[in-house]
C-alpha cells in the first residue's frame, strides 16, 4: 500500500465571478521513502493540491472532494482534531517563503521544539536539546548558539534550513515541500537541494515536492507528476519524463527551458515557446485542457477530454495523440 494515495481530488473555490476549479480530478500516489515532484506553472493547482492534502483549504470559499488516503485513512473525512495530530507530525510541510513562515518573536530553538512538545510530549529541556540536534542535522553551524537566536538574525538560506529542521522534528513519514528553493539565491538553492537529497537518505521520509523548476525536479525527484490547468496531464519516472515526454505540454515545457552551455556558439537564438495563455478555470473546459495551446490539436481534442492512459511502465499521459501512438506501435 502506498503511503499517500490521492484519488480524484477536486478542490474548487467560490469566487464572485464563478467557481474556480483549481484542482479538478487529480490522482497520484507517493510510496514510502520516495520523492515525487509535482511540477507545473502558476495557477496549475499544484500548491492547492498540497494545501488540500494538509487540509489547509479555507472552507468556504473552498471545498475539496475525492479521497486523500494516508496510510489507508481518508484525510478528507477525518475530524479536525485528528487532522491536527497528523499535521506537523506524520505529515509536515515547508513553504516557499521562510521568513513569513517563522514566528518573528520566538527563538528558533523554541519554535523547533514546539511541535515535539505538542506531538511527542517532550518537556521543555528535552525539546530544546532535540532542537539543537535537528539544527545540527540540517547543517547549521554553531547550532547551540543559533537555537537561541530569532529568525531575523538568520539569512534566507539559514531560515530555510530552520524550516526544514522544524518540518523534520517529529520524524514525519511525508514531507511536503512547496517551492522550497524558489525564493533563494542560486548558490543557496544548491546548498538546500544538496541538504534535501542528503536528508532523504538519512531520514527516510517520503517527499512531495511542489515546484515550477524543471532543474529542481531533475535534481531530487524519483517520479514526476505534471499538472496543467488543474489536471494531471502526465506522470512518469523522472528519467523517462525527461528522456521521452509524452504529453505535448511537457514537451513544450522542456523545450522552453534554456540549458546552460547549449547556446554558447555565437548569436542568441530563439527558445521554443508555448503560444497563448493558460485557460481560465472559472468556466468548464470542454475537451482537452491543453487544446487551446497545443501544436498538435485536432478536432477530437476540442470535444473529448482525454483520459490518462499508460504509455509505458509507470508512464501515464492524458493525450489522444499519445494514446494513438501506442496503438500504432502495437
Amino acid at each position: 500500500m502506498p503511503l499517500l494515495e490521492v484519488d480524484r481530488l477536486q478542490t474548487h473555490f467560490r469566487t464572485p465571478d464563478g467557481v474556480n476549479r483549481a484542482v479538478d480530478g487529480v490522482s497520484f500516489s507517493v510510496d514510502r521513502g520516495e520523492t515525487l515532484a509535482v511540477v507545473g506553472e502558476s495557477g496549475c493547482g499544484k500548491s492547492v493540491t498540497a494545501m488540500s492534502i494538509m487540509r489547509l483549504i479555507a472552507e468556504p470559499p473552498g471545498k475539496s472532494a475525492g479521497e486523500i488516503r494516508f496510510e489507508g485513512r481518508d484525510l478528507l473525512k477525518l475530524p479536525e482534531r485528528e487532522m491536527r495530530k497528523i499535521r506537523g507530525a506524520a505529515i509536515s510541510m515547508i513553504f516557499q517563503e521562510p521568513m513569513t513562515s517563522l514566528n518573528p518573536v520566538l527563538k528558533i530553538g523554541r519554535q523547533i521544539g514546539e511541535s515535539m512538545r505538542l506531538h511527542q510530549g517532550l518537556d521543555r529541556g528535552q525539546a530544546e536539546a532535540k532542537a539543537v540536534e535537528m539544527l545540527t542535522l540540517v547543517g547549521i553551524p554553531e547550532p547551540k548558539r543559533r537555537s537561541g537566536e530569532y529568525p531575523h538574525q538568520l539569512s534566507g538560506g539559514m531560515r530555510q534550513r530552520v524550516m526544514i529542521a522544524m518540518a523534520l522534528a517529529c520524524s514525519p513519514k511525508l514531507l511536503i515541500a512547496d517551492e522550497p528553493t524558489t525564493a533563494l539565491d542560486v548558490t543557496i538553492q544548491a546548498q538546500i537541494l544538496d541538504l534535501m537529497r542528503d536528508l532523504k537518505v538519512r531520514v527516510g521520509a517520503a517527499i512531495l515536492i511542489i515546484t515550477h523548476d524543471l532543474g529542481v525536479v531533475a535534481e531530487v525527484a524519483d517520479r514526476v507528476v505534471v499538472m496543467y490547468a488543474g489536471r494531471k496531464v502526465e506522470e512518469a519516472p523522472v528519467r523517462q519524463l525527461f528522456a521521452k515526454p509524452r504529453h505535448p505540454y511537457t514537451r513544450g515545457l522542456l523545450a522552453a527551458v534554456p540549458r546552460l552551455g547549449s547556446s554558447l556558439g555565437g548569436r542568441p537564438g530563439r527558445l521554443a515557446e508555448i503560444p497563448g495563455i493558460v485557460p481560465s478555470l472559472k468556466t468548464k473546459i470542454e475537451g482537452c485542457v491543453f487544446a487551446s495551446r497545443c501544436p498538435e490539436v485536432e478536432e477530437v481534442c476540442l470535444r473529448f477530454a482525454p483520459a490518462l492512459e499508460a504509455k509505458a511502465a509507470g508512464h501515464l499521459a492524458a493525450c489522444h495523440h499519445a494514446v494513438r501512438g501506442r496503438e500504432e506501435a502495437a
Binding site: A190, L214, A221, V238, P268, L271, V278
Partner: protein, 337 residues
C-alpha cells in the same frame, strides 16, 4: 575613438544607514562600490549576481532613478550622472526600463493606451493624434498584442501580457537602450520563453542595446553577448558570453555556474557548494570580498584587494589566482567544454 552608447566609470552608490541623534550619518551600505563597464549599440550586456550584490542598484543609477554617490554615467557621449532633473528629462528618452513584477509595473488606474502614450507625449514623438494612434497600433503589433487591448485596463491581462505592455511602454520612447531589471524572472516557463524571444526579436529589428540584469544564468547565456558578474557591489569578472560561461576566470563565476540546477536527471553534477552566506554590504570583508567563501582563498586574498585585470582579449577578472602560472591556477585546470 568612437564612444560607446553607455559608459559607466567608477560608479559608486552608498546608502546612508539611519542617522545619528544629531543628524550625522554614521554607517553606509556600500551597494555599488567602484564599477565600470560599457554597452555598445545593439549589444546585450548582462549583469548577473545574487540578491544584494547591487545589480539592481546599478540599473537604477544608470536610469538616474538614483543619483550616484560618485562616478560617471555617460549616455551617448553625454554625462548624465550630475545633470539636473530638468536637463535630464529629454535625455531620458534614450534609456528606458522594464521591471520584474508585471503587476506593480503598470498603474492600475491607467488604460493601456494612456500608459503607452505617456512617453510619446512627454518627448513629443507624435505630432498629431493620427500619428500617435498609428504608432500605438504599431507598438501593439510589435509586442504581439491585439490592437483592441489599447482600450483595456491592466488588470484584464495575464502576467506575460502585462510584461508585453511594459515592453511596449519602454519602446514607445524610441530608446537606444532598455534596462531589463529581472524582466523575465517572475514569469512562468512557457511565458518566459515568449518574452525572451520577443526581446531578442526587438533587439534585431530595432538595433536596441539591452542592459539585462538577472540572476538566471541559463536565460542570460541564451540571450546575451557579454556578461558582467557582480559580487558585493563589485564586478568580479566581465567578458563575452563564451569567455564567462566556458572559461570563467573567477572562482565566484565558477561556483555560480556549477550551482545552476540542470533540467536533466543524468547530467553529471560537479557542484561547488559554497560555505556560508554572502557577507553584509555594510561591512564588506577586507581584501578580496569573496575570500570568506572562496574555496581557493590564500593569504594574499585576505589582505590585498584584487583589481580587474585583463586575462585575455576582452575578458577581465579580479582574482589573484590569475597572477599564478597556469599549471598552478585551479581555475584553468578544471577546464570546461
Amino acid at each position: 575613438m568612437s564612444a560607446s552608447l553607455l559608459e559607466v566609470n567608477d560608479l559608486e552608490m552608498h546608502f546612508p544607514l539611519g542617522r545619528g541623534l544629531f543628524g550625522g550619518v554614521r554607517r553606509f551600505v556600500y551597494a555599488v562600490d567602484g564599477l565600470s563597464f560599457r554597452v555598445e549599440r545593439g549589444e546585450t550586456l548582462s549583469i548577473v549576481g545574487e540578491s544584494g550584490c547591487g545589480k539592481s542598484t546599478v540599473g537604477r543609477a544608470v536610469l538616474r532613478l538614483l543619483k550616484p554617490t560618485a562616478g560617471q554615467v555617460v549616455l551617448g557621449g553625454v554625462r548624465i550622472d550630475d545633470m539636473s532633473s530638468g536637463a535630464l528629462r529629454p535625455m531620458r528618452r534614450r534609456i528606458q526600463v522594464v521591471f520584474q513584477d508585471p503587476f506593480s509595473s503598470l498603474n492600475p488606474r491607467i488604460r493601456v493606451r494612456d500608459a503607452l502614450a505617456e512617453p510619446m507625449n512627454n518627448f513629443g514623438l507624435a505630432k498629431s493624434r493620427a500619428e500617435r494612434d498609428r504608432k500605438l497600433n504599431a507598438l501593439m503589433d510589435k509586442v504581439g498584442l491585439p490592437r483592441e487591448a489599447l482600450g483595456r485596463w491592466p488588470h484584464e491581462f495575464s502576467g506575460g501580457q502585462r510584461q508585453r505592455i511594459g515592453i511596449a511602454r519602454a519602446l514607445a520612447a524610441e530608446p537606444d537602450i532598455i534596462v531589463c531589471d529581472e524582466a523575465v524572472s517572475a514569469l512562468d516557463v512557457s511565458v518566459k520563453a515568449q518574452i525572451v524571444n520577443l526581446l531578442g526579436d526587438l533587439q534585431q529589428e530595432l538595433g536596441l542595446a539591452l542592459l539585462f540584469i538577472s540572476h538566471d544564468l541559463a536565460i542570460v547565456e541564451h540571450m546575451t553577448h557579454r556578461v558582467a558578474v557582480m559580487y558585493l557591489g563589485k564586478i568580479v569578472e566581465i567578458g563575452t558570453k563564451r569567455q564567462i560561461f566556458a572559461r570563467p576566470r573567477h572562482p565566484y563565476t565558477e561556483t555560480l555556474l556549477s550551482a545552476v540546477p540542470v533540467p536533466d536527471p543524468d547530467a553529471p553534477r560537479r557542484r561547488i557548494i559554497l560555505k556560508g552566506d554572502v557577507p553584509s554590504p555594510i561591512n564588506p570583508p577586507r581584501g578580496c570580498r569573496f575570500h570568506t567563501r572562496c574555496p581557493y582563498a590564500f593569504d594574499r586574498c585576505r589582505t590585498e584587494e584584487p583589481r580587474l585585470r585583463e586575462v585575455e582579449r576582452g575578458h577581465e577578472a579580479a582574482c589573484h589566482l590569475n597572477d599564478r602560472p597556469a599549471e598552478d591556477n585551479p581555475l584553468l585546470s578544471g577546464a570546461r567544454a
